[in-house]
């Protein structure tokens, strides 16, 4: 059983979630709760920063799929950033870069959001 932590930082209209550790079937509910919380608060500009994430499984990927439709319908988005190559490989294999914007740096994602609002 590997641990998972999540921290949240809000900056005006954008919220950033920092994920750390293992995101698998056991810890996915915790992640889902955090995302759901943002949706409940009507905060639809979301960035997930994968800098400290060691591992992600299909359960973790499923969490995104469960919420993205709602977020996008509300003119928001979930952008991903700071992935390690190992984690990126998992997303890449499945073709996720075609569904989500994945950036090297969080700032790029922030910029994208700000540009979109103008």
């Amino acid at each position: 059983m590997h641990g998972f932590e999540i921290t949240r930082q809000d900056n005006q209209t954008i919220s950033c979630l920092y994920v750390k550790g293992f995101l698998d079937a056991h810890t996915a509910p915790k992640f889902e709760e955090a995302l759901q919380q943002l949706v409940d608060e009507q905060r639809f500009n979301i960035i997930v920063n994968f800098n400290d994430l060691t591992y992600i499984s299909s359960a973790g990927l499923g969490v995104f799929m469960g919420l993205i439709e709602n977020v996008r319908t509300n003119n928001g988005d979930i952008k991903l950033s700071n992935m390690t190559s190992k984690v990126f490989k998992v997303f890449d294999l499945l073709g996720f870069p075609n569904l989500y914007e994945i950036y090297d740096k969080e700032e790029q994602a922030v910029q994208k959001f700000t540009k979109a609002e103008q």
């Binding site: 499923g62 969490v63 799929m65 469960g66 439709e69 294999l93 499945l94 073709g95 075609n98 569904l99």
Partner: protein, 708 residues
């Protein structure tokens, strides 16, 4: 008893009667051989024998023990009433007055003897009946010595009767003076001991405890009645008649007399006992009721598994246990410190209002913190007491007892209310505590039961899922052609795996090969796999192009799969005539390919997206289809990510590089089974770590007949 014992009873009774007759006959007829004294003694001996035989006979019958305690005295009177009347009237016929002995010596005729025998036999029957009645009472709640004392009394009495017979009179009777005759002294001593034993036996009246208040009163009056009748009979004329029985048969007379005395002593002591028990009888009954309801509740509660019904039952039973007017149960909410009304019984509106008030919540906190019961015996006068909505104080008394769980601290609180002040005493509080403990056990049982049912259900679910999943995989490797060698293996990590593979013959020369991975691990994964297999099976023969097939499968799958689930799939079509392979990678691991000309392994990775992630627009746009040669010497290696994601003890992945080098190793050394080598490698790499689902399909186009 009946069919076998009745003849025995009858038979023995007849013998007893015969013995009585013989005894009387011997006593009263002049047989010149014996002296008058000896005749009497021998006659009395027969009477004693008759007494013993009759006791055996009567003891055999339906025992008095089957009659409830409170009815025994009454039953005794009713059964023996007839006999007593007979005896009294019979004795009354014998002329009262003086010189009976004279009149008898004048008429020694058989019918008198018969008559006297009947009288004596009646006396024998009644005495035996009295003894058995008292036997039944005395032996309730017996100690080791009780039986001994009783039989000692009986034997003592018979002994006394025998000695008196030798003396020709009742030593303990009126007007008998003690002399220095050793027989006198012996008789006297035995007599005193016998009376002493009567008193000892008469203390055994603890059966009084088993009657309820009303039964105690009834028994009291019945006992008084019988005692009074006995005393009255002693004083009337017929007392003289009993005296006259002694003339006919000393033994019978003395025995009957002493037995009657025994009964009287016993009744008097029982009457005292009943009188002393009467004041506390009410409370005693209440205690018994409480204990019995506690016991009943205990056995019912532990069988009740439905949680809601259990809570309901608990509140109802609280009413009974402490004889309250209202009762209700507050259960603590799972993750907070607040309570919720879970069940109530006979709670009127004003109490309901009180329960919703703020002051009441304070009470709950008080009990919750102290973890001990609270009794408010005068609600009107108490401080910090809840009020109803109209701010009117409610009168009466209230008690709240916490239910403590072994693991979770306080789980709930039971409340009981009485309209009367000072309705709850220390005993009631203890009663509720005992009840509360039982309740907690029942509640925890119920929860555990639900949990174990849930676990079982889950396990069943997993078993079903596994069944489904096993049935979905191919039962055997198909034969494609002489020069095509196929290996396939699928090892699920847990009970249900998510890996899938299949072979479908599309045309004479074309075969479809599909290897996939369903996200998730449970029944739903198995069901999605079944869906996938269905779609592929039905669509593959229509769309020979893997890309078109994937597009169609995605289109069909998307609306039929949970948003959070998806499937990765590698779909390939082998053309055995053209020696070519077309393939599409829907988000799956790359296809391993050994190219015979280049003599190297490659990982082929066309662009693609997993199935079920997109409705079709993006999927259709980006999905690629590649075509390569499948010349002799070529090898295809399909796999799922369980192979590369195996971890070792240092949390390192097996990875693509190691996979490639293992494949190269197999190629160079020309192994016969790739899958075995790879599985060994994985095993030694992972050691104890549990791998994910592992699936591999290896297809070789052999060069020559040797099988390379």
């Amino acid at each position: 008893m009946d069919s076998k014992k009745r003849p025995i009873k009858f038979f023995l009774s007849m013998i007893a009667a015969a013995l009585v007759f013989t005894g009387v006959f011997v006593s009263k007829s002049s047989i010149s051989v014996f002296s008058s004294t000896m005749s009497n003694v021998i006659g009395d001996g027969f009477i004693i024998a008759a007494l013993v035989v009759q006791l055996l006979a009567s003891k055999n019958s339906a025992s008095l023990n089957s009659i409830p305690l409170n009815k025994r005295l009454y039953k005794f009177v009713v059964t023996n009433f007839f006999l007593i009347i007979l005896l009294a009237s019979g004795v009354a016929i014998i002329p009262a007055g003086t010189g009976l002995v004279e009149s008898l010596s004048e008429r020694v005729i058989i019918d008198n003897i018969v008559f006297v025998s009947i009288i004596c036999y009646l006396a024998v029957l009644i005495s035996t009946s009295i003894f058995l009645l008292l036997y039944g009472f005395i032996l309730i709640k017996r100690t080791k010595r009780t039986k001994n004392y009783f039989w000692a009394l009986y034997v003592g009495l018979l002994l006394f009767v025998l000695i008196c017979s030798f003396l020709g009179k009742n030593i303990l009777g009126e007007g008998n003076q003690l002399t220095k005759n050793p027989l006198h002294i012996a008789a006297f001593v035995v007599g005193i001991i016998t009376i002493f034993l009567m008193v000892i036996n008469s203390y055994r009246n603890s059966w009084v405890n088993y009657l309820n208040k009303n039964q105690k009163i009834t028994c009291l009056f019945t006992a008084i009645l019988i005692a009074v009748l006995i005393i009255m009979a002693e004083r009337s004329n017929s007392a003289n008649l009993l005296y006259y029985i002694k003339d006919y048969s000393l033994a019978t007379g003395i025995f009957f007399d002493m037995t009657k005395d025994f009964l009287l002593i016993y009744l008097i002591l029982s009457i005292f006992s009943l009188l002393l028990h009467l004041p506390t009888a009410g409370i005693f009954d209440k205690k018994v009721r409480q204990l019995s309801s506690l016991h009943q509740i205990g056995s019912v509660m532990t069988k009740m598994h439905n949680f809601e019904k259990l809570l309901d039952l608990i509140t109802k039973q609280t009413l009974e246990v402490v004889e309250a007017d209202s009762a209700w149960l507050m259960m603590k909410n799972k993750n907070s410190s607040s309570f919720k009304l879970a069940a109530s019984s006979r709670v009127p509106a004003n109490l309901m209002n009180m329960i919703k008030s703020n002051d009441y919540r304070e009470l709950l906190n008080r009990i919750s913190e102290k973890k001990s019961p609270l009794i408010l015996n005068d609600l009107q006068r108490a401080k910090n007491v809840p009020v109803d909505r109209q701010s009117k104080k409610i009168g009466g008394s209230l008690t709240g007892v916490p239910l403590m769980s072994t693991s979770r601290g306080i789980a709930g609180i039971i409340f009981a209310y009485k309209e009367m002040e000072y309705g709850f005493d220390q005993e009631d509080s203890e009663m509720i505590q005992a009840y509360a403990n039982q309740t907690m056990i029942a509640i925890e049982n119920s929860i555990l039961f639900d949990e174990s049912l849930e676990r079982e259900r889950l396990q069943q679910e997993l078993n079903v899922a596994r069944e489904i999943q096993l049935k979905l995989l191919p039962k055997e490797i198909p034969y494609m052609a002489d020069n095509i060698k196929i290996e396939a293996v699928s090892i699920p990590a847990y009970e249900v795996g998510g890996d899938y593979y299949d072979f479908i013959k599309l045309t004479d020369n074309q075969w479809g090969i599909y290897v996939g991975d369903v996200s998730g691990k449970s029944v739903s994964a198995a069901l999605y796999m079944a869906e996938l297999k269905g779609f592929v099976q039905s669509l593959a023969r229509l769309y020979h192009s893997p890309k078109e097939l994937m597009i169609k499968v995605n289109e069909t799958l998307y609306p039929n799969i949970d948003r959070r689930s998806f499937i990765s799939l590698m779909a390939a079509v082998i053309d055995l005539k053209e020696n070519k392979i077309k393939f599409t990678r829907a988000g799956h691991t790359p296809l391993g390919y050994y190219e015979p000309e280049a003599e190297e392994w490659k990982m082929l990775r066309p662009e693609g997206l997993g199935l079920g992630l997109d409705k079709g627009k993006i999927f259709n746009r980006i999905t690629d289809e590649w075509e390569i040669d499948f010349a002799p010497g070529s090898i295809l290696f399909f796999y799922t990510d369980g192979v590369t994601e195996v971890f070792n003890s240092e949390n390192e992945e097996f990875g693509d590089e190691r996979l490639l080098s293992t494949l190269e190793h197999c190629q160079k050394n020309d192994v016969s089974s790739y899958k075995d080598v790879i599985l060994d490698e994985l095993k030694s790499f992972s050691q104890e770590n549990k791998p994910d689902d592992i699936t591999m399909v290896i297809i070789k186009h052999v060069k020559n007949k040797k099988g390379n």
